[in-house]
Every structure is written in C-alpha cells, then in structure tokens.
C-alpha cells in the first residue's frame, strides 16, 4: 500500500493548483485520474482573466498546444429574445481559449506532482489520523494511505458522494451538451463567447467558434431531450441570427451543478477530506468554472499546508481561507452586487448604459423572464438572504456550507 501525504482525485485544473501548493511545501502528493493522460474534457475552454492570471503566476506562460483556435477570446456577447445584443470586453484584454486536454495536462506537469492515471477512485475510509483510499487500476484494486484527501473530481464528484451519499439528491441537476458544426455562414463575431438569455431555448444557451467549427451548446434540467433542445437552438440561430451550419459532426455532454454558488450552498468536505473546484460547487455566472477551480484548488492545497504547519484541523483552515473565493464567486450571482458593483470580469453596467432607454427596458424585461425560468428551484428566498448578508456581514454565512 502506497503511503503519501496527500491524494488528489481528478487530474483537473483545480487538482494542478492544489498539487502546486502541496509540492512547493514539500508534501508527497499523488493525483489519481480515471482516464489516461492527456485526457479529453468537455468545456467551452473560455477562461476568465482572473483564471488566466492564476495560470501565468503559478505555471508560467501557456504553451501553444494548450490553446484552441481562435487562441483568444475578447469578451462575452449577451443576446436577448427582443433581439438586443450587447458585447462586453473582458477587463484586462483577451483571455485564452483553452484546449482542456492539453492545458490541464500541462498544468499538472508543471505542478511536479506524481500522477497515477487510468486509476479510478473507488471509495475512502477516514480513520482520523489518516485516510484509506480505495482505487482501481485496469480493474485491479489498489489502496493508498494518505494523511489528507482532496476531491477535485468535478460536478459529479465521487469523493463528495463517498462522504455525503445524499448530496446529489439535495441539489437540482442540469445536463449541458454541445455539438460541433462545420460552418456555412456565421455572422456571430468569433472573438466573443455568445450567450442567450432566452427561456424558450434552455437554462443555459451558448455558441462560439473553435478550430474552424461552431459550437452550439445548451443546458437544461436533467430529464429533457438533448437532441430536441439542441435542434431548437440551431433553428433559432438560423432564423434570428442568420447562422447557417452543417449537421453536427461531434457531440458531447455532462451533468452540471449550477445552484451551490448561487445560493451559497457549497460542500467543502469532512474530516481529512476536502472538496474543491466545481465539485465544491464553484461556478461563475457565465458558467465558467475554471478560474474558481484554480483558486479554490490552490486554497485547498494551502489549507493542508497550513493545517500541517499549525497543527490545526484541516477543515478549520480550509473554511477560514476559502471565504475569499466564496465571496468572489457568490458575488457574481448576487443581484445587489450586480446592480451596484462590478462583480464580473466584464463591464455589464457600462454595456447596459450604452444602450438606448428603450433597449435597456427590453433587456430588463427579458432578464426577468429568464430568471422566472429558475422559479421552480425555489432559490428566491435564499438568494435574497445571501444578498443581504453580504453588506451586513461582509461575506456569506459559513453555516450553509457542507
């Protein structure tokens, strides 16, 4: 049985960030990855400036192979059913369009952590002074003995399930799928990530260019039919925006957890097991999870380092330190912050101000209709309470975290 200081589950960006902190402090760290590396990852790949800065500060300049074409994204364009569109540039210039297969692998290598790929996590037992981690490699059972475990294995986290078996039943699940189309004609500016606030299309509808093809993606409550939802979006783009596409050549999809950042219901783990990244519930408002994954991943690594040096419980350190990242992420969903501050990395209020009064009215009406789509989740009271906590307490209550 391999004995290590830390096991990280999942070879993602948050894992790379956590591993970087751990390795720098001299902790023996092993990353377990289910697939063979480099591995494919479903993602828009559009990183926010904050995430980009983190990558550069911690891993250096990005290699070319870690980027898709177009290599950079200028900002986000919002489209509304009233046919008003507003483009917003990211603060600080363009950001990279990551090729997750290679960017993640590159970051993992830069962290200098040891990776055991094709090794899937199969369960854990927290024994107080160590954690026994069960895994499987090519079907063969494997065991690791670690002082701490970090779950960085994405929205459908097996580590989260291992410590909170009921958790997946407590939150609403969405399906997010994207299809790749050869382009006949596409008037959408390829320098921007396009997003539709359209309740008739889906809970989350987007499109952008990648490597000469156009991605059309849609997210919706689990249970609906992907093919139908997607076809609906393609028709809408064709009719309203003149986007002419071939039949798709590839498609992919995965489960997503939108809610936790919105209602401050994060899951950070238990005992010697930490949950981080999107597994913990971090997601930006435009559905970008990479920047918060990097930062929360780093914080989980720091928490282990601090817990060891200060001889304190790791949960205590992690929860104290994660406060800053919770604030950053939940601020983006906070209506008061959106109305009176600039929590996002592009200037929505300025873009709104550039519209005519009539258009502003249409945008507000469309936004409201879009929000109503989420009514069934009954998040209203929780959002309002989180929004009020922020100015009164300077942050979001820790009592709601798991």
């Amino acid at each position: 049985m391999r004995k290590v200081d830390v096991i990280i589950v999942g070879a993602s960006l948050s894992a790379a960030a956590a591993a970087k902190r751990l390795i720098d402090s001299g902790l023996e760290t092993v990353i377990l990855e289910r697939k063979a590396l480099p591995r494919h990852k479903i993602c828009s790949g559009i990183l926010s400036p904050r995430g980009h800065r983190f990558l550069i500060e911690n891993f250096g300049p990005l290699p070319r192979e870690a980027l898709h074409e177009p290599t950079a994204c200028r900002g986000v364009t919002f489209h509304f059913p009233s046919m008003v569109s507003m483009s917003m540039d990211f603060f600080g210039g363009t950001t990279p369009h990551l090729h997750r297969k290679y960017s993640d692998h590159w970051a993992i290598k830069q962290s200098r952590a040891e990776v055991h790929d094709e090794t899937s996590f199969a369960g854990l037992e927290d024994r107080g002074d160590h954690v026994l981690v069960h895994a499987r490699k090519h079907g063969e059972p494997l065991e690791y003995r670690a002082r701490w475990v970090i779950g960085a294995d994405g929205p459908s986290s097996l580590v989260t399930r291992a410590i909170y078996p009921d958790y997946p039943k407590q939150i609403p699940w969405f399906f997010v799928g994207q299809k790749f189309h050869e382009i006949i004609d596409c008037p959408l500016d390829e320098q921007y990530f396009h997003f539709w606030f359209h309740p008739g299309l889906g809970h989350y509808t987007w499109s952008h260019a990648r490597d000469g093809r156009q991605i059309v993606g849609v997210g919706f409550k689990r249970g609906d039919n992907f093919a139908a939802k997607h076809a609906n979006v393609v028709n809408y783009l064709s009719e309203k925006h003149g986007v002419k596409l071939q039949e798709h050549t590839d498609d992919e999809g995965c489960a997503e957890n939108f809610g936790p950042s919105l209602i401050n219901r994060y899951v950070f783990g238990k005992g010697n097991v930490l949950i981080t990244g999107q597994a913990a519930g971090f997601l930006n408002m435009i559905g970008e999870g990479m920047s918060c994954a990097l930062h929360s991943g780093a914080i989980s690594g720091e928490a282990v380092v601090e817990a060891r040096l200060r001889n304190r419980p790791v949960q205590e350190m992690y929860r104290k330190m994660i406060v800053s990242e919770v604030r950053r992420t939940s601020d983006q969903w906070n209506p008061l912050k959106i109305a009176f501050d600039r929590p996002h990395e592009a200037d929505f209020p300025a873009a709104l101000a550039a519209l005519s009064w009539r258009e502003r009215g249409l945008v507000m009406r469309d936004l409201w209709r879009f929000v109503v789509l989420y009514k069934e989740f009954k998040w209203g009271r929780q959002i309002a309470s989180a929004a009020l906590q922020r100015p009164l307490l300077g942050g979001y209550s820790m009592m709601k975290w798991l």
């Binding site: 040096l309 200060r310 001889n311 205590e316 104290k320 406060v323 307490l393 979001y396 209550s397 820790m398």
Partner: protein, 319 residues
C-alpha cells in the same frame, strides 16, 4: 455567525505557533556557538511543524542550555523552554539518571525557618554557600534536591517516593530560597502554598549587598530565573543597575547573556564544556574591575578566561 468561525479559538502557544521570525537566534548561546539554525528553538519548532520526529532532533534537543533567553524574545509568546523539556521527555535518557530515594532515616524539621536549596554548584563554593545562609538566616539542609534539579533538566523520571522524601521536610519550612531556577519552578507547582524565592533576588534585595556594588562591577544575573519571570525582573534589575551603576550581563534587548553555553551532555559530564567563546562574548569590550555572579556555576568559567576577581553575590560584604 459569519466570521465567528474565522476568528475561532486561539491556537495553543506551542511549536505550531512559531512563525519563523528568527528572533530567538539573536539571544541564543547555542546559535552563537554553532551559527546553525537547526540548533535553535526556531529550527526545532520548524522541524516539528514539518513532521520531523523528536528522535531525529536528538542533537539539537541535547544542545539547548535552557537559559530561557528565547522566551521573552519570542513575539509569539511560545514557552520555548517547555518545548525543549517536553522533547527531552520524549527521548530515551542521554545518561541513565538514578533518581531513587536516598534513604534518609531522620526526617528533618525546619520548624518554620527559611531553607536554602543551594545545589551542586554553590556547594562547591562552600564559603559562598555559608555566607548566603548566614545573610538570609537559613537553616542547614541535608537534601537540597540537586539530583531532582538535574532530572528536571534532563527530562528524566522522578519516582514518587523520591519526590515525597524530598518534599516532606520542606513542608515544615517557612520559606524556600532556591539557587536552581528549574527546581524553583517545579517546587512552585509541587508546593503551591510555599513561599519560594530565587537566591539571586533574595540576596540582591539586601541594602548591605547593594552598597557593595560598584560602577566598575559586572553583575552577572542568573539567566534561567531572570527569563522565567522576565517582565517583573527586567524592571527590578534595571532599577538595581541604575541604583548601583554596575554593568550587567544584559544585551540591548535587556535579555540576560549566559556566562556558559552547556548542552545537557556537558552538564551531565558526558562531554567537556566549551564555555570560552560565550564567556569571552559576555566580557567583550567591557571596562570592569570585578565580576559578581548570582550563579556559583559561572565562577569557574570566568576564572578560566579572565584574571579579574570573581565573587559570588553572597560574598560581597566580606570581599
């Protein structure tokens, strides 16, 4: 609710609280000798934080002189002497110390008199010991617990029988005057009702002794007792210094510079002491005519490197 957790209970002031500032190096006699971070409280605390076991810090733990200079120097208020002693207790003994009963037949009765626990070093300078007893009006004592003092320093076990044998007669005394600071502190825990004073303080309070101190004297404070009660004593000795004009073994931080730098092995006689560099440093650049020590154990160290007269505080009136 928010943030209450962020400011949760203060962490204990042990090795884990060390922030690595190195302030203890500035006052550490072992650092002066080795210039090696491993042989300092900072080095030990950081090693422990990184999960190094006590057994792998054996030499460092042995090297500490327990002078306690690092305790008032530490901005994190860690009891660094307690940290070293705790580590010593975790290690097998450097030398087996037989702390068994001495089999004293007759239990002494001090009938409310003062008692001087002189310790081995002062016993060696018998004139000084007798002078001290006379000045302080102390009854003679058979068992001064020097073996216990050594055991405390070494982190060795003291049998309950020996402890009781030592304490039983002391309970009949009115006051204990103790030369050894570690023993004095332990007695304070064993006999919480007893009035316990440190020999240096008991003597230096006396007006007849103070009158003998001159402005060309170097007054050498016993560091362990001084640092264990730093806040009170720094004022006390500052006043003494200004009242008498004598120089003292204090550095710019008003922390006492020990005259010797002996590891546990050296104290136990397993290795030869090498105090010269430390004693030289204490005397460097000082224009003095006489050395007055609180701790009789310092006399030999000074005599080895200096021709200046060295006297114990108790001998001052007859000097």
């Amino acid at each position: 609710m928010f943030d209450i957790f962020a400011k949760a209970t203060p962490a204990p002031r042990d090795y884990a609280a060390c922030s690595g500032c190195s302030l203890c190096l500035l006052v550490c006699p072992v650092w002066r000798k080795t210039r090696d971070l491993r042989y300092t409280p900072h080095g030990r605390a950081k090693a422990l934080q990184h999960g190094v076991a006590a057994a792998d810090l054996k030499d460092s733990i042995d090297s500490c002189t327990l002078c306690g200079a690092c305790v008032p120097a530490c901005p994190e208020n860690i009891d660094l002497v307690a940290m070293t002693l705790d580590l010593r207790r975790q290690l097998p003994p450097v030398r087996p110390l037989a702390i068994g009963t001495r089999g004293v037949k007759k239990i002494a009765d001090y009938s409310r008199q003062s008692v001087l626990l002189a310790g081995a070093a002062l016993r060696e300078h018998d004139a000084a010991r007798r002078a001290a007893m006379q000045l302080l009006g102390c009854a003679p004592v058979l068992d001064d617990g020097d073996d216990i003092a050594l055991a405390l320093e070494a982190g060795a076990q003291i049998s309950a029988a020996r402890q009781e044998e030592f304490l039983l007669p002391l309970r009949t005394a009115a006051q204990l005057i103790v030369a050894d600071a570690l023993l004095a502190q332990q007695l304070g825990r064993w006999l919480p009702q007893m009035q316990i004073s440190n020999l240096g303080m008991a003597l230096s309070r006396r007006a007849d002794l103070r009158r003998q101190l001159r402005n060309d004297d170097l007054y050498v404070i016993e560091p362990r007792a001084y640092h264990a009660d730093y806040e009170a004593r720094v004022r006390y000795y500052d006043d003494l210094r200004h009242a008498t004009g004598c120089a003292m073994n204090l550095d710019l931080q008003r922390i006492a510079i020990p005259a010797t730098a002996r590891s546990l092995s050296q104290r136990l006689g397993l290795k030869t002491p090498d105090d010269a560099e430390q004693t030289h440093w204490l005397l460097q650049g000082r224009k003095i005519a006489r050395i007055v020590v609180e701790d009789a154990g310092d006399i030999a160290a000074f005599r080895q490197i200096s021709t200046l007269p060295v006297v114990h505080l108790a001998e001052l009136p007859n000097d």
